[in-house]
């Protein structure tokens, strides 16, 4: 296995047990700095646990985790921002207020946080939605706001946990292209957890396939299919071949 460039994420022999249940078993994974890595696996294979371990919210029971060389949990937490599947927007804040919450947390006041967040908010296609209440936003827009909030934490590492899992197929396809573009404009070391092989192939540079519980890496393959027209890409020979291999490994 090629060693990750400094600044990436290195998991080596990571396992996690909850009592008798082995959630993750000997997971080794390198994600290069600035790359987007997809983690694909069936439900309940410990994908979310893996992200929480990387984020420093959990400790592995075995193995080591390094985020940009940092091994201690608080140091990892300092470097990672987490985006959950359910957007968890705060209904007492408007859209921009939700996106800028990390800037407020860092200090400096509400007004300044909003002003600082506004340009990126607009660049992510949210212009005009600044003052919308969360319940006025569609599912897709909510996920965009949640992603803006994650980006605006100013962390080097983004951990996206099934970000589009609750969306309908059309919105999902739209947001996959949107996310790819956003990450191209704002490159971050990203782990994208999903159960959708196509999503991983379209959005990610590299993909790790996890087995059912206990989760372990059973296949790694290249992604990077996100360049062209979606309909053409997903019908192309290399895409179908990669998808076939991933689905085979998932079985």
């Amino acid at each position: 296995m090629v060693s990750a460039a400094p600044g990436g994420i290195e998991l080596s022999g990571v396992s996690r047990r909850f009592g008798d249940v082995v959630a993750l078993d000997d997971v080794s994974l390198n994600a290069a700095a600035g790359s987007v890595t997809g983690i694909v696996g069936p439900s309940g294979c410990g994908k979310s646990t893996l992200l929480e371990i990387v984020a420093g919210l959990e400790e592995p029971t075995g193995g080591t985790v390094a985020v940009e060389g940092a091994r201690a949990a608080p140091a990892r937490l300092e470097r990672c921002a987490l985006m959950p599947q359910s957007d968890l927007l705060l209904p007492w804040r408007d859209a921009l207020g939700n996106a800028s919450v990390a800037l407020e947390n860092a200090g400096g006041g509400r007004r300044r946080a909003r002003a600082e967040a506004a340009p990126l908010f607009a660049r992510l296609g949210l212009h005009g939605f600044e003052r919308r209440r969360t319940w006025e936003l569609s599912g897709g827009m909510r996920q965009r706001v949640a992603f803006a909030r994650t980006l605006l934490a100013g962390k080097d590492v983004l951990l996206l946990d099934e970000p589009f899992g609750a969306l309908d197929a059309i919105t999902r396809a739209e947001l996959q292209a949107w996310l790819r573009d956003a990450l191209r404009a704002e490159p971050r070391t990203t782990l994208l957890v999903t159960h959708d092989v196509e999503e991983a192939l379209l959005v990610c540079d590299r993909i790790a396939v996890l087995s059912a519980r206990p989760g372990r890496v059973v296949l790694e393959l290249d992604g990077g299919f996100g360049g062209g027209e979606r309909a053409e890409t997903i019908a192309s020979e290399p895409f179908l071949e990669a998808r076939g291999r991933a689905l085979e490994a998932l079985r």
Binding site: C80, A81, P91, V101, A102, N105, R133
Partner: protein, 251 residues
């Protein structure tokens, strides 16, 4: 029109009850000192409006002061108990147990300590109102989805920031529920306090009315007290609607 229909039912029932009461008293010739007719109560409300209004002023002041003190101490206690698990383990069970001490029983003792002025009434109302506020606030703080806290931790939030931006707003609907319960207790608590020893207020008017077999006066005082209780309850509900409009939009 729908608004009228929503309220029509209880108004009809109320009017029917009053009419039945009136008919019962008049047709059976019930003596006034046993059960005054609604018209007798109404007449007394008008004839004694001066003394009743000043009595209501005294009782309202006791209710409001006690309620405000309970709100302040209750919220402070809930925050402290929420912040420190050790404190919660040490104090919360005792707090719950303290609710089995009837405040009616200690009211006369408080009068001995604090005299016949506002102080003992304030303490009694506050004691009664404190518990629902504290429990509701503490429950509210603790009912926050832990996923919110995890995500906020990756968004640069300190413990204080999480409390301010997530736990406190999240708990507000619950706190208002506690305040409504407390508001409905406040009138009865003030009445108890006045019974225990007072030279003014609606409780004093009732005691006087009872001693003189002036049942219409007692009835009139009850009506005024109920109006005070409803007013405080309504005020809390109104403030809730104005301060947390989002609460009715979520779910």
């Amino acid at each position: 029109m729908r608004h009228v229909r929503a309220h029509a039912a209880w108004i009809v029932v109320l009017v029917a009850l009053i009419a039945a009461w009136q008919a019962w008293v008049r047709l059976r010739g019930v003596p006034q000192y046993v059960l005054p007719a609604p018209t007798d109560v109404g007449r007394t409300l008008w004839d004694e409006r001066g003394p009743l209004a000043s009595a209501a002023g005294v009782t309202a002041r006791e209710m409001l002061a006690g309620f405000a003190v309970a709100l302040g101490f209750g919220l402070a206690a809930a925050v402290a108990l929420h912040a420190s698990p050790t404190l919660r383990r040490a104090v919360y069970p005792l707090l719950v147990a303290s609710q089995s001490v009837p405040v009616v029983a200690i009211a006369p003792i408080l009068v001995i300590y604090l005299g016949f002025g506002l102080a003992p009434k304030l303490v009694i109302v506050a004691l009664v109102c404190f518990f629902p506020v504290t429990v509701a606030a503490l429950d509210g703080f603790r009912s926050v989805d832990p996923e919110h806290v995890r995500v906020m931790r990756t968004l640069r939030a300190s413990r204080t920031a999480i409390f301010r931006r997530v736990e406190l707003p999240w708990a507000l609907p619950s706190i208002f529920t506690g305040m409504r319960v407390a508001a409905s207790y406040a009138a009865v608590a003030a009445l108890f306090a006045e019974y225990a020893g007072s030279g003014a207020g609606l409780g004093d008017a009732m005691r006087e009315g009872t001693a003189q077999y002036d049942a219409p006066l007692v009835g009139a005082a009850v009506v005024v007290l109920a109006a005070l209780a409803l007013a405080l309850f309504g005020a809390v509900t109104l403030i809730e609607r104005l301060t947390i409009p989002w609460a009715r939009r979520v779910e």
